[in-house]
Symmetry: C2
Subunit: 686 residues, 2 copies
C-alpha cells in the first residue's frame, strides 16, 4: 500500500518488490507493488487524475507524462525502463485520438521501478480555465454533472433485481458513488440503453448522488449552457463541461420587445392585459429553446448532450422566464417572489426536447427587486468581495445594476439608465454590429471628426477606409461610439458643460447644423448621414446621471471613495475608461484602475455552470449584499440633478484632470435648455 515517505525500490512486507513513485506537480508520493497501473497509484494517493471510463483504456482522460532522470530533490532515479512498454491499448488509443508525444495512458501503463510522473493540467479532474485578465480568478472545472462509464451485471432470474439497482451497484463498486435518486426519464430509457450497450453504459450523475441519464456504451461528451436574458438581447454560451471551453455563442433579440421596449413597459403590458405575462413567458422560452438548439447544432453537438442550463437576468426577466407574474416588481415595494437561487427541471421552463430530459435549469439568485441575477453573476465573475480596494461594478443594460464594496462590505442598487447607453433612443444609434461607429476622435482645431467602424480596422481619414467599408458600410453608432463622440465633442468645446451643442461654433465648422432651436453635429456624411443631435446628448445625460447618482448613493452609504471601477454590460468591453470618465458616467479614480469587461453576467453564468461551489459562494455573497432602493432614497434625485453636467457639477475629478485637460466651463447662449433636462420626470426603471 501507498505511503507518503520517500524510499528507493525495495521489498515490501509480503516479499514482493515495490517502487517509489512521485507525482508532480502535487508532490504526492508513495510505494507501490511492481505492476500497479499508474492510474491506480494516483487514485490511492488522491492525485487529481481524470478518468471517465474508469481505467478501461477508452476515454484517454488519464494521460500523464513520465519524467526521466535523477531527481535528487525527490531522492528518486526515474528511468525509462521503470515503466511498462507502450502497449496495445495505448497504440489503439493514440491511433484513433490525439495523444501528445511522451504521454502515456495512466490506466494502461504499469509501474516497474521508481518514477517521477507529471500530471498535465488537461488531465486533472479539477483543471482550471485560465481567464485572460490577471486580476480575476481562474475557473476550476467542477460541474454539477459528471459522466461515468460502467459495466453492469446482467439480470439473473434466480436473484431478481431491477435494472436500476444493478446500475446503482455498478456506480458504487466501480466509482464509489451512492446514487439515492433516479429521475423518471432515466427509468424510461434505462432498459433499452443497457441492452443496446450490452450492459456497458455511460451514466450522467448529478451532485454525486442523482442519476440523470444513461447512454449505451462509452461516451465522454457533456455540455452545459450559460444563458444571459437581457431586456433587449439574449445570449447563450454552449460550454464543454469537461474542459470549460465555450464551444459556441449565439444570441438573439429578446422577443418580448414587441410587448414593450423597456422593463417597465412590459410590466405595464401585464397590468393592462391579464395573461400578458404568459404571452411573454412563452415568447422568451421559445426563443431560448431555439437558441439552445441552434448553439448545439451549429457546432455539431447533440442537444441531448446538454445536461445543465444556468440562467441569469434582471428580476423581471428572471420572473418571466420562470413563469412568475412580474407585476409586483412594477410598483413599490418591488417584492421579489424569491431572492434564493432556484433549481428546476429544464422541462419546467419549456425546454423539453431542446436539451437532455434529465437537464436542470439553475437560476442564479436575484439580489433585490431591482437588482437581478445578472448583478449576482457579474459579482461572481468580478469578485469585488475578495478584494481590498473599494470596487465599483457597473453592469450597464437598459437598467444599470451597481455593486460597490470590497471584502468587508458590499452594497448594491439599480438605476434607470434607459437603453441610450446601448445605442437605443439615439437618433443614429444601433447595436454593436458590423458597420457601427465605435471609435471617434475630433480635432479640437478643425472640429473635423474621424472614426472607426466595427468590421474594419482603419480610421475614416485613412486612404483605404472607403474601400474597406464598402461592403459593411457605415450604418450607425453603437453604445461605445456614442460615449466617444460625446466625450470628444465635449473636449473639443462642441458641447458645453451643461450638455448643449454650442451653435456659436457653427462659424468655425459646417458640421454644426441648426435643427429648430438646437444644433446637430454631422459625424458622417453619407447614406445614411450620421448626426449627433441635441436629443441624443440629452438621452445620454439622463442615462449617465442616473448611473452616477446610483453609484454616488452607494458611495454615501459606504462612506469610502471608489478605488477601482469595472464596467460591464452590452457596450462594456469596448468602452474607453477615459471617455467614460470625461462624460462623468463613472466617478473619479485612477484611470488604470478602470476595467471594461464586456458581458460579465454571461461569464458569471458560465462560472456557475462549470463550478458547483461557486453557486454556494455567490448565494452567500448575495445574502450579505446590502440592498439600497434608489426609489426611497431622497438624495438620489439631488445626485441625479448634479450629475447631469459633464463630467459633473461639483465632483472635482482629480485623477481625470491629471490625465486629460477638460474645457473651461462655459454656458451656451441657449442656457435654459440645459437645466430643463435635469428636472424632467424620470420613468421608474429604464
Amino acid at each position: 500500500m501507498a505511503e507518503q515517505t520517500p524510499a528507493a525500490s525495495e521489498e515490501n512486507a509480503d516479499g514482493g518488490k515495490t517502487a517509489h513513485v512521485v507525482f508532480t506537480p502535487s508532490g504526492k508520493r508513495g510505494d507501490f507493488p511492481l505492476g500497479t497501473p499508474v492510474l491506480q497509484a494516483a487514485r490511492q494517493l488522491g492525485v487529481d487524475l481524470d478518468s471517465v471510463c474508469g481505467g478501461r483504456g477508452i476515454c484517454g482522460r488519464c494521460q500523464c507524462s513520465p519524467s526521466f532522470g535523477d531527481f535528487s530533490k525527490f531522492k528518486v532515479k526515474s528511468q525509462e525502463q521503470n515503466l511498462s512498454e507502450f502497449g496495445a491499448v495505448e497504440e489503439r488509443y493514440k491511433s484513433k485520438r490525439k495523444m501528445k508525444e511522451g504521454r502515456r495512458l495512466g490506466c494502461s501503463t504499469f509501474i516497474q521501478g521508481d518514477l517521477v510522473i507529471d500530471i498535465p493540467e488537461d488531465s486533472q479532474v479539477h483543471k482550471q480555465v485560465v481567464r485572460k485578465r490577471a486580476e480575476v480568478r481562474n475557473i476550476e472545472i467542477d460541474p454539477v454533472v459528471r459522466l461515468h462509464y460502467i459495466e453492469v451485471d446482467e439480470p439473473d432470474m434466480h436473484h431478481p433485481s431491477g435494472d436500476l439497482e444493478r446500475v446503482e451497484r455498478a456506480l458504487k463498486d466501480q466509482w464509489g458513488i451512492d446514487v439515492d435518486r433516479a429521475d423518471l426519464p432515466v427509468l424510461q430509457s434505462l432498459q433499452k440503453a443497457l441492452r443496446a450497450g450490452e450492459w456497458k453504459v455511460t451514466a450522467a450523475v448529478r451532485n454525486n448522488h442523482k442519476l440523470v441519464y444513461v447512454w449505451p456504451g462509452f461516451k465522454d461528451a457533456a455540455y452545459g449552457c450559460a444563458v444571459d436574458i437581457g431586456s433587449t438581447t439574449m445570449s447563450v454560451h454552449l460550454c464543454d463541461l469537461h474542459n470549460g471551453e465555450v464551444v459556441n455563442s449565439v444570441g438573439a433579440m429578446n422577443p418580448q420587445i414587441r410587448f414593450g421596449e423597456d422593463l417597465m413597459s412590459r410590466v405595464s403590458y401585464v397590468m393592462m392585459n391579464p395573461g400578458g405575462d404568459k404571452e411573454m413567458t412563452k415568447a422568451v422560452r421559445e426563443t431560448l429553446g431555439f437558441l439552445l438548439v441552434q448553439a448545439a447544432t451549429e457546432s455539431g453537438v447533440d442537444p441531448n448532450d446538454i445536461l445543465e442550463v444556468v440562467l441569469v437576468g434582471n428580476p423581471i426577466m428572471h420572473h418571466l422566464m420562470l413563469g412568475i407574474d412580474p407585476t409586483e416588481l412594477g410598483w413599490a415595494p418591488f417584492a421579489l417572489a424569491t431572492n434564493q437561487p432556484l433549481r428546476v427541471w429544464a422541462s419546467e421552463i419549456g425546454l423539453d426536447g431542446k436539451v437532455n430530459p434529465g437537464s436542470r435549469a439553475y437560476f442564479m439568485p436575484c439580489v433585490a427587486g431591482h437588482v437581478g441575477a445578472d448583478a449576482a453573476a457579474v459579482t461572481l465573475a468580478e469578485g469585488p468581495q475578495y478584494r481590498d480596494e473599494i470596487t465599483l461594478v457597473v453592469d450597464v443594460g437598459t437598467n444599470a445594476e451597481i455593486v460597490l464594496g470590497n471584502k468587508e462590505r458590499l452594497l448594491a442598487c439599480s438605476s434607470p439608465t434607459g437603453p441610450a447607453l446601448e445605442g437605443a433612443q439615439i437618433s443614429s444609434g444601433q447595436r454593436a454590429a458590423t458597420g457601427a461607429i465605435e471609435r471617434v476622435r475630433i480635432d479640437p482645431e478643425t472640429l473635423e471628426p474621424r472614426f472607426k467602424v466595427i468590421g474594419a480596422d482603419l480610421w475614416s481619414d485613412e486612404d483605404e477606409f472607403a474601400a474597406a467599408t464598402k461592403k459593411v458600410g457605415v450604418t450607425g453608432i453603437c453604445g461605445s461610439g456614442i460615449i466617444e463622440v460625446l466625450a470628444e465633442m465635449y473636449l473639443a468645446g462642441l458641447i458645453t458643460t451643461d450638455g448643449i451643442i454650442d451653435g456659436s461654433l457653427a462659424s468655425r465648422t459646417d458640421r454644426l447644423v441648426a435643427e429648430g432651436r438646437t444644433f446637430s453635429y454631422v459625424l458622417h456624411r453619407g447614406e445614411p448621414e450620421i448626426r449627433v443631435t441635441q436629443a441624443d446628448v440629452r438621452a445620454i445625460q439622463l442615462a449617465k446621471a442616473a448611473l452616477y447618482a446610483g453609484a454616488q448613493l452607494l458611495v454615501d452609504k459606504l462612506g469610502k471613495p471608489v478605488e477601482r471601477v469595472v464596467l460591464a454590460g452590452a457596450f462594456g468591453s469596448h468602452i474607453d475608461a477615459k471617455y467614460a470618465m470625461v462624460l462623468g458616467l463613472i466617478p473619479d479614480c485612477k484611470l488604470d484602475m478602470v476595467a471594461s469587461v464586456g458581458n460579465a453576467a454571461g461569464t458569471g453564468a458560465r462560472i456557475a455552470l462549470l463550478n458547483k461551489k461557486a453557486r454556494d459562494e455567490i448565494r452567500a455573497t448575495v445574502h450579505r449584499i446590502e440592498k439600497i432602493e434608489t426609489a426611497v432614497e431622497e438624495k438620489f434625485q439631488q445626485h441625479f440633478v448634479e450629475a447631469m453636467a459633464f463630467p459633473h457639477k461639483t465632483a472635482p475629478y482629480p485623477n481625470l484632470r491629471a490625465a486629460v485637460t477638460l474645457p473651461e466651463p462655459k454656458v451656451a447662449s441657449d442656457g435654459n435648455e440645459g437645466r430643463e433636462g435635469g428636472g424632467r420626470r424620470r420613468r421608474r426603471r429604464g
Copy 2:
C-alpha cells in the same frame, strides 16, 4: 414553566399563581401560570393536540373536553371555575361549525386553576383510523403533506426580501418548520395568494421541509388518492388526509383492454407495434385523470386540494403508468426497470390539471418482475411480516400474486391464473355488479339450485325473489358465484373429482343438458339462461391449479405448512372460505383461519397515503422478501397438474374434511377429457 410533578395550585418562583393540569388519556401533566391557553400548555408537554391555524381560533382542531370532579388518582380537584368562560371566539366557532357539547377550543380556553382535560381521539394529530378486522393494525394518520396557517410579514422596501423568504420565516417562527425547498408552482402563485389573503395564507408542506402550495387565507381541507391499477379494472379512493376517511371511491375498466385482455397480450402488442407502449400509457393516464376528477367533483372536493397520489399495480401496469416500455417484463429474465419505490411529480405521469400542481405521485415498490406493487400493498395491508403464524396471502387478479411467511421469513411469487376467477372467460361470467349471481346452493337430493344475486337479499326460491329482481334482473355469475356453483356441483356429485360434469346424472335432473360431447348445468332458466358449461369448469380448474401450485411452491421453499390464509382481490371480500377450499383454490388450514379481505391492494395504497412511515416499512419488507420465479421452478408444473383435481389429487385436506363431507372420488364415463386439461399448455402470465 411546565413540570411533570403533581401539585395543587400554588405561587411560582416569580410570585405569579400557577395551576396543575393533567391531560388524559396520555397522563401528561405540569404546572402553568394562570391565564395560559390550554393549547399552549398541551404543546409544552408534548400532548398530541391538533391545530392547523396555530392557535388563532379558526380551525377548531384543538377541541378538548375538560373533566370536572375530585380526581384522587391525579391528586387534582378539577373545577368548572378553573377554566375561563366560554368566550366570543368559541361562540363564533360553535355557531358556524359543529362542536360537541362540553367541548372547548384549546387555543381560546385559559387555565384559571387545577384541571383534568381529556383530548378526544379526533383532536389528536396522530389519530388512528380503526380498521374493521381486529387482526389487522389500525392506521395512524401521519401523511407526507400537512397544512399550516401562517401570518406573513409584508415586504419592506428598506429591508428588501423575497416573498418566499418571508413565508419561510413565518413557517419557522410560527410552526418550527425549516423549509429548504419550494416548488416552482408555489413561486408562480405565491405573490397573488399572499396579497389575496392579506398576508394570511395556508401553506402545504411536504415532509416538514418542502413547500408545495400556498392558498390565500385559512384552509383545512387536504386530500389524497389511493389508486389501484389492475389489468382489468382501475379504482381510486379519495381520502381526507386529516381524518383518513374515504370520501369517495370510483372505478373504471382499464382502457388498455382494447390492446389485449391479459398482461401478456398487452406486452405482445408492444412487441408487435413499436410505440404501442406509449398508446397504452396515454390511455391509462387519461382514465386515471378522469377518475381523479370524478372522485373529487362527485364529492364536492376541489381537485386542486388533492395533494398526493399513491399508486399500486402489477409490474406491467406499474411500468406502463410510469411511461416505461414493459417489453422486458414479457420474457425471461423478466427484469424490472426498478424495484425501488418511486416518487415523481403527478404532472410527470400526465396528471397536470387533474390534481394540485404541487402534487406528487408515489409508486409503491414492485417485488419482482412478476410480483407487483399490488403485492407490496397487500403485504402492507395484511402484515404477515408481523405475525407468528405462517400466513398465505393471495391477491387474485388476472395474475395471482402470492406471499407466504411470517415475521421470520417471507416468500413471494406470482401465478398465471387468468381472468376466470374474476368472472371473465366464463360463459355466463360478469363482474361483481347488480344482477350477478354471487351465492349458490344445490340440493344434493333433487340437484335443484337456489341462488342470490347482488342487489337483492333473497334466495331465488323465496316468494318475493321474482319481484325483488324484476328491476335488476339475473344477468350472469360473478367470481364468487362461480366458486360457489362449482363447489356445490362438486359436493352434489354433479362434477367429478377430475372436473367432469357427470352426464350420467341427466336421468335425475333435466338441468343437465348435453352440448356436443359434454354436459352443461342450467343454473337459471330465464333471459338470459345461465348455464355452467364444461369449458367453465376447465377454466376454473386451470386457474385454481395455477394458484395452488404457486402457493405450494412457496410452502416447499419455506418448509412449513400454511396456518392462515388471506384471500384478497377483485372477488375477495365475498368469497366463502369453505367453498374456496372445497375447490382446492387454497391449501388446507383451519376454516376459521381463512379471511376474505376484498381489495387489500387498495387498502395498502391508502395506508401508504395516510402514513409516511408505512412507506419506509414496506420498502424494507419488500427488500427482504425472497422472490421465487415460477417459470424456472421445475416442480411448478408437477404441482399444477396435481392441483387440477377437486380439491386436489394428493393433498389430504384434513381440516376441510373435518368440516365438510367430500364426495367419494369417482371417474366420469368420459374420463379422458378430465386428464387432457392438465397437460394443456399454459400461457405465461394470465
